[in-house]
Amino acid sequence: MEIRSHKFRQNAADALANEQLQNALAHVRSKFIQKRAKAVNNLKAFDTLRDNATAIKNHTLENLDVYLEIFEEKVIAQGGQVHWAATAQEARGQVLDICRRVPAKTVTKGKSMISEEIELNEFLEQNDITPVETDLGEYIIQLRGEHPSHIIAPAVHVNMDQVRDDFRKHHTHLPEDRVLEEPKSLLLEARGILRERFLKADVGITGANFLVAETGTSVIVTNEGNGDLTQTLPRVHIVLASLEKVVPTLEDMSQILRVLARSATGQEMSVYTTLSSGPKRPDDVDGPEEFHVILLDNGRSSMLGTEFQDMLRCIRCGACMNHCPVYHAVGGHAYGWVYPGPMGAVLSPSLAGVDKTGHLPNASTFCGRCESVCPMHIPLPKMMRHWREREFEQHLSPPSNRRNLKLWAWFAVRPGWYRLMTRFSHLGLRILSGWSGSIRWLPFARGWTRHRNMPGPERQTFMQAWQRHLVERRKS
């Protein structure tokens, strides 16, 4: 996916002007927040579980190499194969090799953000293999030729009328006069079409919410059951997972599971939690003949040992974006790459380069709500600030901003000069306000006054008034 994060300002302006998108985002603003709050309030141990989940991931990240090797051994012992991919290109190559050997014409896919990250669908199509997204939201945006705008609700930006139009446009083999008024009729139509695809697929590709080292198990959570059909019906199952998905034990996984769905959708558990350990064994009634795990690095190992290591605790619940005022305002596509919202604002610069995604860690009010709801206690605002520090050090922030900042800082450590500067600023603001209570136009902050007034200052600065007050006090 082409990185469009450098056009964030324009993307955001377009999003703000898109009435349909704004209506869809109102839904995120209310529903996700309420559901999470309810689920969290219903579980007294939630904060303890958060602490446990955080500790488990911290321990795993400190020993990542060890647990990944244990995971690999266990997968191999069960008859599966593990492929290590340093880059997106390597991972794509590994998927293609497997598909060519099968040989595969169509692959079904469970929801996977790693697949988005390595741009797998486009690549498979270029190689004459048809990828079919089977998560309903993913299926809808695949028909529309779009990318997910949210990591757990990929089509949250689309409304029902649009889905109906898309289905009529693409499902041309169905009667034109069919009734598609209810969400249920849309769901049934999608299900009918996907059932056929599931049965025809040669390879099934899923992501992984967890990789359990002690058992060599990959785990996905879904609400539609599409993941199970994707991985059990085709002859070959490929798991696409990034390195940091590994956890030591099943017990560790279950601890984190308890905070995952509550943080994401407000469910106690997702409808399906599916564990796969290797290919079909002789006694199994179903399952794939081949089981492959592709372990993607793509920049993650270089985050270890840096101020961004904590980001690797992320379990992709989406709570940060569900509670983010900036995400609420502009939606996910404006962020211009795979991962939107606060987690994207930290992760994207790590994976795609801060030179290309520099807007993202800056486009935050630092309200801190993301950190306050993050089930893994990831200090997201702090890490966005770390990116701003890198940008400042590397002179990536605009020169005019740097100059103004330096000038202001010069005054800020010289109280006498600072007093003088504030008196001039005060006078300037008073003049601009026409000695009234508000300013309608500010030369250095036109962005502000384009949309709102700037309240005018009172008659004197505090320091002036305070000196006068002290003199009067002494007199009396």
């Binding site: 600030r385 900042l405 209570g437 709102r452």
Partner: protein, 261 residues
């Protein structure tokens, strides 16, 4: 009786420039609470603009100056959760790894309080001997709420004030879209966020909006003013101090309120 605590007021740069009334209200509240109040002349700003722009070097210089000017007092109190949060929570990060400053910054940070937090939790204020008639709602400014955990204190103080009718604001914990330089750098997004906030303010029955941070108040007052709303905007300290004779933030033409006592 022990001697009154020596409290230094960190006025904040925005109160200094825009709204001295908040500074005077702060001084009055602290004096009424029995504190010996000081306003160190060497103060300028807490350094947040530099800190949030990734400029560690300038932040460090400013932080050193602030600590030098304030560390000799028993307490440092700011009428702002954002600036108090900077002094209390972020300064230790600014000096992280610097053994020479570690002890000083830790001792300094422990003395810092946001105003309503200080009044309610340290000075244990539970009543006022005057009444203020106002119909208010309170917006939780983000830094105070999430960095310092301030939510109960301003509400308890307002409820202790006779004459106050207080209603809760829908989504009072959601950001107003200010975010310091964010409001200018990403003004379109900031405007969208504050527009949602203003819808909630207008939908409440309250006639006066209060909060504990002047940055957020300037933002919300500016938007309410541009929209022609009649809701008055004030810093919570002004109401708590009973100092609501001055015109509200952003409008000098509003009718004056009656003070009953």
């Amino acid at each position: 009786m022990s001697s009154p605590p020596n409290v230094a007021v960190f006025v904040t740069c925005l109160v200094d420039l825009f709204r001295p009334s908040v500074g005077f209200a702060t001084v009055k509240l602290l004096e009424d609470a029995g504190c010996s109040v000081h306003v160190p002349i060497a103060q300028t700003c807490c350094g947040q603009p530099a800190w949030n722009s990734g400029d560690r070097k300038d932040t460090r210089e400013i932080a050193e100056a602030v600590i030098n000017a304030f560390e000799s007092f028993d307490y440092v109190v700011a009428p702002s959760g954002s600036c108090a949060g900077m002094l209390k929570k972020h300064y230790p990060e600014v000096f992280a790894g610097d053994e020479e400053w570690q002890g000083r910054v830790t001792a300094f940070a422990a003395k810092v309080y946001e105003l309503t937090e200080f009044l309610a939790d340290v000075m244990k204020i539970i009543k006022f001997d005057y009444a203020v008639k106002a119909d208010v709602t309170y917006h939780d400014a983000c830094a105070g709420l999430r960095e310092l955990g301030i939510s109960r204190q301003p509400r308890a103080l307002l409820d202790a004030l006779i004459g106050i009718k207080r209603t809760e604001l829908k989504d009072c914990e959601t950001c107003c879209g200010f975010g310091g330089t964010f409001s200018v750098k990403y003004s379109e997004i900031s405007n969208s966020i504050v527009s949602t906030k203003v819808e909630n303010i207008n939908a409440s029955s309250a006639k006066m909006l209060l909060s504990g941070d002047l940055g957020c108040l300037l933002n919300m007052a500016g938007k309410l003013g541009r929209d022609g709303s009649t809701v008055e905007v004030r810093h919570v300290a002004e109401v708590l101090a009973g100092m609501i004779d001055s015109p509200p933030i952003g409008d000098r033409k509003q009718p004056r309120r009656d003070k009953i006592s």
